[in-house]
Symmetry: C2
């Protein structure tokens, strides 16, 4: 079908801030963190064929292929392609592989680029935003989705909203991208109402994206074109040629294209978005009991408050008289921190990696 | 030897406030809680034959016999008797059994009654206090050791110190026993300097103790005499007759004898005593690292402060950014509480018992 919208699910991440649940071999997107489905499954379910989307593509690492195939099959999803990166080269090359693949099937294809490890509690709002963006994108623009902020978050980059675009209601030019701000700056952004979080979600014409790469990051396009031309194929699985792909610059789509392209635009959207960046974020978005606890698995909690208590293996947890705690227990590690310090889980993993411990895997 | 001092170690307890380390089948006194030796071993080592004490007697429950025998053997201690209570009947009957056993070997025997689950960091001070008490006890008095308080503790009973006793320096009459006070009362006690904690440690003439029972609790004496007359013996192990013993009143030595006897006296002593009543007490008496943590076993702690982190089994612990926490991990339970709430561990165990869980055992 000409002009199809192909979901492109970026599943290359291997974040460590949800350790010990997430591991290098089974990162966050392959886990059922916030709901019964895995985050990969939930991402695919957000842009289903039943709602008019084409079959999705997944860009992932070779090591995760068995999980990706099994999880898509479990969800009843037949992917158009599973593209295996020989190694991670950030988002600009990853998206280029998918754009090339999509173009081969449909010269008018749009690609809906979605990180695989975000939560969106209002997928209908997301799909409405996609429809909104499509009007501008079908005319050649490159659209980012800008998450309307609800707090002065210092952990995300922001997009300053620019002028409205005639004939594309709900779409605005991008005034500028800004890096993670300090607290005072973030509070200012929130107050103006003119800033949105950059959630890394995009709608592009596949052709327009490759054209933008040709203009702003030609080496990325050359590397990815060569890699796809020499790709090995097996069913839906596409293995771009490693030598060619590994020569691609490690660069994000923001730096490579969005910050430079004159045809970049943004669709502001409120859709209950979270990147579940750390355990405290999971507590934030989860349903809580009357004491403010998010409890799962073999846990006995007496007098606990505002805590995330998650048991997924190992001895049962018995918790008493604690507040604002995060406890995540697996068969081989029990991690205990506070909601305030939840980001420091990364430090534990760094320490383990430095010590050569097998636990990060 | 006539007039020997026989250590009588009361090992009948089965406290739950050091759960999940202490269990009904292996309570606190049978564990190495505060040092390399078990608390039973440390108690025996406090009154050794090398310091002129007779071989000790241990009063314990049948279920703990294998542990008691093994731990005494490991410490190179040949007990004069291991007296197995058919069931717990509190301290007055338990001490009566030992007094009867001691009298049979030495009509002039003194018995040094020691709970098996206390820490005394200055055993030399303890032995000096025993020598101090012995002067009065050999003249017929019944001596308690009164722990000089260092804080307005509301969890212990107090002894009000009375008049000095002529010819027995360091020994005083007991003005009165008082129950666990409220905070204001405890602060008043501390301020006067006339009150000591009742630590449940005593020095009696065995004959004088039985005479006092005859006067103040004759039914206890009758039951214990009958039980010992019909006891089954096997090596050092003495099994008093159950029918007779079980008819004894369940009563403490304080209620049965010390609060009533005109010849009760007290030796105030500072000896680094703790009953290690809960996990916070163990933190109090333990050596800490520069961040105030007491850490043992497979624990990685980053940015933890003033916490007790104890791993004795199960998955390793990874702790980050917490303060004033208590974590005790065993092969089948991970218990997490605060130093402030450490007493609430009892509530967990009560809940488990009510639910019929095997974990308390």
């Amino acid at each position: 079908m000409s002009g199809s919208i192909v979901p492109v699910i970026l599943s290359g991440g291997s974040g460590t801030r949800l350790w010990p649940l997430s591991r290098a071999g089974k990162p966050k997107q392959l886990l059922a963190i916030a709901e019964a489905a895995t985050m990969l499954q939930a991402t695919a379910a957000r842009a289903p064929q039943a709602a008019g989307f084409a079959a999705p593509m997944v860009v992932a690492g070779e090591g995760h292929l068995p999980h990706v195939e099994a999880q898509l099959a479990e969800a009843g999803i037949a992917p158009a392609a599973i593209i295996l990166e020989p190694a991670g080269r950030n988002t600009a090359p990853a998206i280029a592989l998918a754009a090339i693949e999509a173009l081969a099937a449909d010269p008018e294809a749009l690609i809906l680029v979605m990180p695989s490890d975000h939560v969106i509690r209002d997928p209908a709002a997301f799909r409405r935003a996609v429809a909104t963006a499509a009007v501008a994108v079908r005319r050649g623009d490159l659209a980012a989705f800008g998450i309307t902020p609800d707090r002065p978050e210092t952990g995300y980059g922001y997009i300053e909203l620019g002028d409205a675009i005639e004939g594309a209601p709900g779409v605005q030019r991008i005034a500028r991208f800004v890096e993670k701000p300090d607290r005072a700056t973030a509070e200012g952004y929130l107050a103006t109402g003119r800033f949105a979080w950059n959630g890394g979600i995009f709608l592009f014409g596949a052709r327009a994206y490759l054209d933008a790469l040709a203009a702003h990051a030609p080496a990325v396009l050359d590397a990815c074109s060569a890699a796809m031309a020499a790709a090995a194929r097996s069913g839906a699985v596409v293995r771009p040629a490693a030598d060619a792909f590994l020569s691609a610059t490690n660069i994000s789509v923001d730096y490579a294209v969005m910050e430079k392209a004159a045809n970049a635009c943004v669709v502001p959207v409120e859709m209950g978005w979270s990147d579940v960046g750390a355990w405290d974020a999971l507590w934030d978005i989860s349903a809580k009991d009357e004491a403010g606890n998010v409890v799962s698995g073999a846990v006995m909690a007496l007098g606990a408050a505002n805590s995330l208590l998650r048991h997924e293996g190992g001895p049962a947890l018995f918790v008493s008289g604690v507040s604002d705690l995060v406890v995540v227990a697996t068969a081989d590690a029990v991690m205990i921190t506070t909601r305030q310090s939840a980001q420091s889980v990364k430090d534990i993993v760094d320490r383990l990696k430095a010590a050569g411990s097998p636990l990060p895997n």
